[in-house]
């Protein structure tokens, strides 16, 4: 039987998955030796990808990857919230609905199911793919597609010391300047979401010679998405192509959604 949470015991940690690719919880397995170390400081009591040993709640800290996209997941996330003292959502799916939220803007969910599954009656899914915070209160959101391993381990370490972690919300642009990367917009005329996207990746795409595509979602102050959209059009994108830049991995996050809507309005 599970022991009740108390201050002397190691914190009980659970990891859950909703609609997602597994990449964010894989960051924990990819932590390798740090994972073995972490395992000495916490009790991982429910982490289906890593262990057959599964204990029921309550949990001191729960990490959730993935979006809510079926009626069962909606029920499950409410249950998880009830069992969790601190709930942390990890990754683009959990924090903004993920790439699968591309279906949301279309209003064509039923058509998708019909187009895609030979027997649509077998499929039970919600019209939209939702971030967890649409259903329950979330204590901390770590964005990214995938979530950054350093941020994730850092957040767990902070919680172990009793502090709620702080996460940088400045844009990728700032990170690029700090690291001295050549600006891909200026040098190559590449459309880049860096001015409005939150850092966390270390300005990875510009470092690899391409424009940012928004994995970490909108920066705290996402800045002037309209002007950036116009800049994309000036760089030669059609308004539809410019809208697609925003409507991508984190496209259901409100600032990006609105920017895409606006550009699509122009396209029409």
């Amino acid at each position: 039987m599970s022991a009740p949470s108390d201050k002397t015991a190691k914190p009980r940690v659970a990891v859950f998955k909703m609609a997602s690719c597994d990449g964010c919880q894989l960051q924990l397995l990819d932590a390798e030796e740090a994972l073995l170390e972490l395992a000495g400081a916490i009790d991982i009591v429910n982490f289906a990808e890593a262990s057959s040993h599964i204990e029921p709640g309550p949990y001191d800290v729960t990490l959730v990857e993935g979006s809510v996209s079926t009626p069962e997941l909606e029920e499950q996330i409410r249950e998880i919230r009830r069992e969790s003292t601190v709930l942390i959502t990890i990754g683009a799916c959990a924090t903004s609905g993920g790439v699968q939220a591309l279906r949301n803007a279309t209003g064509k969910h039923d058509e998708f199911v019909r187009a895609v599954y030979p027997t649509p009656e077998y499929i039970d899914s919600l019209e939209d793919s939702h971030p967890i915070s649409d259903y329950v209160q979330v204590d901390l959101e770590l964005t990214g597609c995938p979530v950054d391993r350093g941020q994730l381990l850092g957040a767990i370490a902070s919680l172990l010391r009793g502090a709620l972690p702080r996460v940088s919300t400045s844009p990728v642009c700032v990170e690029c300047k700090r690291r001295g990367y050549v600006c891909v917009v200026v040098a190559k005329g590449e459309p880049c979401l860096g001015p409005v996207t939150r850092t966390g990746c270390g300005a990875l795409c510009p470092a690899f010679g391409r424009g940012c595509y928004g994995c970490f979602g909108p920066a705290q102050e996402p800045g002037n998405t309209d002007a950036l959209g116009r800049r994309f059009v000036d760089l030669g994108l059609t308004p539809k192509a410019a809208a697609d830049r925003f409507r991508f991995i984190t496209g259901w996050a409100p600032p990006f959604r609105e920017a895409a809507d606006e550009l699509e309005e122009v396209a029409r």
Binding site: K17, M18, A19, C21, G23, Q27, L29, S69, V116, G209
Partner: protein
């Protein structure tokens, strides 16, 4: 209106959370269902309407464990349609990138997912307490795979540099050279891992099966080749959807694949590749296969772990060879010119053949996409394995039976393997 059932584009049936339902009456299995309730994400539907250049960024998201496979199948297919012929240097860099994923995924599977069961541990963390050096060695080898993916792709999960036309940036010689001593050390460690695998108490499960993988005359297949099977079938990307077809069963959000002519299931993955390409194994890989007890022909799925170890060794040897001769492809990327038509391709994901098809408009917009992942192709075979395996062990207590069922399923390294760790055995005995 007639219902169009098979020919329309199909969603990415991402493997994931599963449950097993078995009903037994008087010692006979009357119902057995491997339920896949991973929520559908509709990748194929929302790929339609996007520009071809965005495809590798989208398809990577189908799987966090094997994003390179999803990127490579789409990139190769689209390049062939657009008349882009990868240079020899590009071929080698992509093979190195894929080798990184094989190392990462195979070692993850052997040590973090599969092996603990054979020794009665719940997870690798428990196993590490008893065998710390072995687990540390394995994690070190896995790290090399991850680091290779990251140095080439920017990061190991959802790499950013692979594009239709090449890489947005290619690594320099001095980025890759530091890998050589690490890879050479790993190559020395692999025979020890083979001995460990040989020592695991695995059930014997000989049974006939049609094993299917890519075949290639000049190199062990990763990115390129045709299709072959152990019953002598041969086909290519253009005819993939005619030779095999998918059916939708009520208990699964993933489709099942069958051979079209015989309506029979087939078995993809490392064991199939080793069987069909044994002559192309590198010397170290051959030694590791032998030490782990694997001699082809072999259809017993419990030899999959040995096949994974052999392929890990092959990937290490290939990585050493490629890095020694490496010159960055220049330019790292050619700008493809879109052309209307149909793109088809398959590559060998760590867990089996991954097929992609894209119908593309003249301006480069994707009109229709179809993705057939390895796990959905293996699903019917997994169910059949369970039906064959279970009668002999039905007398075991529920807990042991659950573990045995999970091991049978885990032989296939279903992506995502939480499908099997999440196995909720629901057994009705009457």
């Amino acid at each position: 209106m007639t219902h169009r059932s098979v020919e329309v584009p199909v969603i990415a049936r991402v493997e994931g959370e599963g449950a097993l339902h078995i009903a037994v009456d008087d010692g006979t299995i009357t119902d057995l269902r491997l339920e896949i309730y991973e929520p559908p994400r509709f990748f194929e539907a929302f790929l339609a309407g996007r520009h071809f250049s965005e495809v590798p960024d989208i398809t990577a998201r189908i799987c966090g464990i094997c994003p390179v496979a999803y990127q490579m199948s789409s990139i190769h297919g689209l390049e062939r349609l657009f008349g882009v012929d990868p240079s020899p240097g590009m071929h080698e860099l992509r093979r190195l990138f894929y080798a990184g994923e094989w190392i990462e995924s195979h070692v993850l599977h052997i040590f973090l997912l599969a092996a603990p069961d054979f020794l009665g541990f719940d997870n690798a963390i428990e196993m590490a307490k008893v065998q710390p050096e072995l687990v540390k060695t394995a994690l070190g080898i896995k790290r090399i795979g991850n680091d290779l993916m990251a140095v080439i792709g920017g990061r190991e999960i959802h790499p950013v540099s692979p594009r239709v036309g090449g890489f947005s940036k290619a690594p320099r010689r001095r980025d890759l050279e530091p890998f050589l001593p690490r890879l050479e050390r790993a190559l020395e460690q692999m025979p020890g891992i083979a001995d460990f695998i040989a020592s695991l108490p695995a059930p014997a499960f000989p049974r006939p099966a049609e094993l299917v993988s890519m075949v290639n005359e000049s190199e062990y297949p990763m990115n390129e080749g045709g299709m072959g099977s152990t019953t002598g079938r041969r086909w290519d990307a253009e005819s993939y959807e005619q030779v095999t077809h998918e059916v939708h069963v009520e208990h699964s959000n993933a489709l099942h694949s069958l051979m079209s002519d015989t309506q029979t299931s087939y078995f993809l993955g490392p064991l199939a590749r080793v069987n069909l390409n044994a002559a192309l194994l590198t010397p170290g890989a051959r030694e590791v296969a032998e030490r782990a007890g694997l001699r082809v022909p072999e259809t017993d799925p419990f030899f999959s772990m040995a096949a994974r170890a052999a392929e890990t060794t092959l990937a290490i040897e290939e990585a050493i060879r490629i890095i020694r001769d490496y010159e960055p492809p220049t330019p790292p990327m050619v700008e493809p010119v879109a052309r209307a038509g149909r793109a088809t391709w398959m590559t060998e994901a760590p867990r089996g053949t991954l097929y992609h098809r894209y119908d593309v408009a003249e301006d480069g917009t994707i009109l229709e996409a179809k993705i057939i992942p390895p796990t959905s192709q293996n699903l019917r075979h997994m169910e059949e394995d369970l039906r064959r395996f279970l009668p002999d062990v039905l007398d075991r207590p529920d807990q042991e039976l659950t573990r045995l069922c999970e091991m049978v399923v885990r032989n296939y390294d279903p992506c995502i393997s939480c499908a099997t760790h999440f196995l909720r055995l629901d057994i009705e005995r009457s």
